[in-house]
Symmetry: C2
């Protein structure tokens, strides 16, 4: 993996006290520092997809727990590494949430470094979809240096292993795209563990690891179709 | 199947203009008319479970579409057999809903007769769970006359075919029981087509028929574990 610039990027966000942001461009780059340099092409042509990658990589999901007492709908994953006592200052009152919801939120915690690598991995996967937009030479070089050669049509659904198409990002239904960010183990958010999955596959997997999911459906089939 | 009383039961509900309610006791019964006579035992010991059977049998689900413009969260399934123009009088404005939501609601429509039979079938399934409360002779006779002998431990999850335990109804999580009413074909609400399913199984099945679901998971396993 090539060295990255890693200069601190100033911001006025209240979360910066907890975690600084760092330039992800290659060491010795010209021009300004950028946290998501490899997403700049995609942000021009498909801003919603670029935004989704950043959001899924760095934020928790959790509409289920949004409420006036509890706090915002999504929160930065690295903020969830902080102890309960620190969180009210960031608009999140864990004491107002049910224990299961707290546990689910804590499962989504991840370090800033893991989140940065997840965003790169997801972008690398995007550009291997057969109908993805063309990648610029600079972005291709950047991503390949991190994860290896871009191979067209090699991005499969993490769960069902069928090839994924970029067009699925556009097929919104009730505001939900037909493809989601998935995890081989839903309790671990890092680059090895993430990928894209069909929405229906991600929902079917639920809170199981992929191994647990495959064992589970094999058991179902064994009961439904006895040998 | 024995003859039922079928006397009309008076009510002051505004929905009664659309659909009358009828006594479901056996023809020639003594005492008052009842719409759910076979649930009276359960309603004494497990009122939440009896309530769930009536609700699942007769009402649509649909928290996703609840809103000020759209109308209530749940609505009687037979009301959904009415044309759009009739529904505003019953608090439901289909024009305010997205087409996919309208389609989903219409799929939940069912006749009063089908709903009555679904409630009986679900009760019959309950009493075949190994840890179900004891059934009175009168209720047993009533249910067996409709669906055949009660056989202990014969109620399986509709989806995964593992035995279901009555205790699952009590294990609420975020207000959701671990067992739900499922459908072999999610677009048909009748007694042949309904059963209980684990919550995770019901979610995994999604909008697929059981046949589609089994085909789907078999294809996944074939990709994951090539022969």
């Amino acid at each position: 993996m090539p060295d990255l610039c890693q200069e601190r990027i100033a911001s006025r966000s209240k979360y910066d006290v907890l975690q600084a942001h760092y330039c992800q461009r290659e060491a010795g780059h010209l021009g300004r520092h950028e946290e998501f340099p490899y997403l700049q092409d995609l942000a021009l042509t498909y801003p919603a997809v670029a935004g989704k990658i950043i959001r899924d990589a760095t934020m928790t999901t959790g509409a289920a727990w949004k409420s006036a007492e509890a706090g915002p709908n999504r929160i930065l994953r690295w903020v969830m590494l902080q102890p309960d006592a620190v969180l009210p200052a960031y608009g999140l009152n864990m004491a107002a949430l049910q224990p299961q919801v707290v546990a689910k939120l804590r499962e989504k915690a991840a370090s800033y470094e893991d989140c940065m690598r997840v965003a790169k991995k997801l972008t690398w996967l995007i550009y291997q979809m057969p109908d993805a937009p063309e990648v610029t030479a600079a972005t291709q070089r950047y991503l390949e240096a991190q994860f290896g050669p871009l191979t067209t049509s090699s991005t499969l659904c993490l769960v069902c292993r069928a090839p994924l198409s970029f067009s699925l990002f556009a097929q919104a239904r009730r505001g939900k795209a037909e493809v989601e960010t998935g995890h081989s183990n839903p309790r671990v958010h890092n680059a090895v563990n993430v990928g894209f999955a069909h929405r229906e596959c991600n929902i079917a997997q639920g809170s199981k690891t992929l191994r647990e999911f495959y064992d589970w459906i094999a058991q179902i089939l064994a009961r439904v179709q006895p040998p």
